[in-house]
């Protein structure tokens, strides 16, 4: 005769299963994050004269850089639709385009004074343009320079210099600065300017597939 004692269910098995599953998911997730982190370390691919727009700037400078990055698209578009004209800083102030607009935010972010800067290289086939924003308060924000550069062939075709992905680059100097007579990547580097690099999702994917 088999006597069986009824023992209340303790659900130990289920609890154990849930805990083991949770631990497994966390381990896999942590492993994947660790693997991915190694591959997306953007600082590794920065050149000596570059700084990261994400990790290399203070909060105020990051804000100015982001505004400038967006404004550069508008400036380039303006140039293409009003060829060969470029917008003036005063015009962009009136059109409320940050960081050129002198609003409340501008007051708290170093009060950069913007001006057009001759590049010394412009011609009918080489279109270059530079805007410099000089900080009034170095302790709050640094100075910025945005350099536009593209070419036209004799039949009018628009193209960028070899290896460039954008028709503009943004440069940063934390303190006093000098400007070269001819503004180019090489001359700016010589005078201690740093190119600010912002990685987009597309850049990240390229980095991963490299």
């Amino acid at each position: 005769m088999g006597k069986v004692q009824v023992v209340p269910l303790r659900q130990r098995g289920e609890i154990l299963f849930v805990m083991v599953s949770t631990a497994l998911i966390l381990l896999v997730a942590a492993g994947l994050i660790a693997l991915k982190k190694g591959k997306t370390d953007t600082n590794r691919s920065l050149k000596g004269y570059q700084i990261s727009g994400i990790t290399g700037l203070t909060g105020n400078n990051q804000g100015i850089f982001t505004d400038l990055y967006t404004a550069a698209l508008d400036i380039e578009y303006y140039h293409q639709t009003n060829h060969p004209g470029w917008p003036t800083p005063e015009q962009m102030d009136i059109d409320k385009i940050s960081p050129f607009v002198q609003d409340q935010l501008w007051q708290t972010r170093g009060r950069l004074v913007w001006r057009e800067q001759p590049t010394g290289t412009a011609s009918t086939l080489v279109h270059t343009k530079a805007y410099v924003g000089k900080t009034a308060q170095e302790s709050v924000a640094g100075s910025f320079l945005v350099l536009f550069e593209h070419y036209h062939s004799s039949d009018g075709t628009y193209y960028l210099a070899g290896g460039k992905e954008r028709p503009y680059s943004i440069w940063f100097k934390a303190d006093n600065f000098d400007l070269p007579a001819t503004i180019s990547e090489g001359t700016l580097i010589q005078l201690g300017w740093k190119e600010v690099v912002s990685y987009t999702g597309k850049d990240q994917r390229k980095e991963l597939n490299r």
């Binding site: 005769m1 088999g2 006597k3 069986v4 004692q5 009824v6 209340p8 269910l9």
Partner: protein, 243 residues
């Protein structure tokens, strides 16, 4: 002399108690159900009948002991719950529902060939075969009870525990239930039935136990189910005042 077939176990509870927080729900219950016997549990609402059944099934923590004494190897236990709610949006047919209860394979992967015949057979037994393709949520209360009863018959149980399955059931359904339980008794199955129909308990039960936190009375129905006892249980006031 007639030899009684015994297939089910002897169910034995000794000193069974249970508390939820500070409230004592069952207090020192001694109970025995034998094979081939229909043992009915009656009692007022909130008296602890369903709690008692759940402790028999090992679903709740209890004090005291509950044991099943089998003749040979432990057999099968069938359970018919009081009721079950199925969301109307769940596309679960009657046969899907039973397959959920009796097969390991997930119901959405189809019904296992092994149990298909058995499902048809038990649905026929409760006269629901013609409704096997209907959604479970579309069934009436009585029809659902028949399906719940049917699932407890696969595989054929040696101990059958029913928790008030006759709620909302129609007369035909009640007759079907009654007939099947008679058959199981003859086969030596131990049947424990929580029931609220006192007339049917008096007619069908071999032994009745009345629970209202503790055992109020226990024995053969015709001996213990007298008017005084029943008034004692089902009247809110003390018996003397009620009379």
């Amino acid at each position: 002399m007639e030899t009684k077939i015994t297939r089910g176990p002897i169910v034995n509870c000794a000193n069974l108690s249970m508390t939820f927080g500070k409230s004592c729900v069952l207090d020192k219950i001694d109970f025995t159900a034998k094979p081939g016997e229909l043992h009915c549990i009656i009692g007022p609402n909130g008296g602890g009948k369903s709690t008692f059944v759940k402790s028999l099934l090992g679903q709740l923590r209890h004090e005291g002991s509950i044991s099943l004494e089998w003749d040979n190897q432990p057999g099968r236990i069938g359970y018919v719950p009081q009721t079950i709610e199925v969301d109307k949006t769940v596309p679960l047919t009657v046969e899907n529902f039973i397959s959920l209860c009796v097969q390991n394979r997930p119901a959405f992967l189809g019904i296992s060939k092994r149990v298909k015949k058995e499902i048809d057979s038990v649905l026929e037994r409760v006269n629901m075969l013609h409704k096997k393709k209907l959604l479970f949520s579309e069934l009436s209360g009585g029809e659902r009870q028949r399906v719940l009863f049917a699932q407890a018959l696969i595989p054929s149980p040696d101990l059958l525990i029913l928790d008030e399955p006759m709620n909302s059931i129609d007369r035909t359904g009640a007759a079907i239930f009654s007939g099947i339980i008679d058959d199981l008794k003859k086969e030596g199955v131990t049947v424990i039935w929580v029931h609220h129909d006192l007339a049917q308990v008096r007619e069908k039960a071999d032994v009745v136990t009345c629970i209202n936190r503790s055992i109020i009375f226990q024995g053969v129905p015709r001996d213990v189910m007298d008017e005084k006892h029943l008034l004692e249980i089902f009247t809110a006031q003390p018996v003397q005042e009620a009379i």
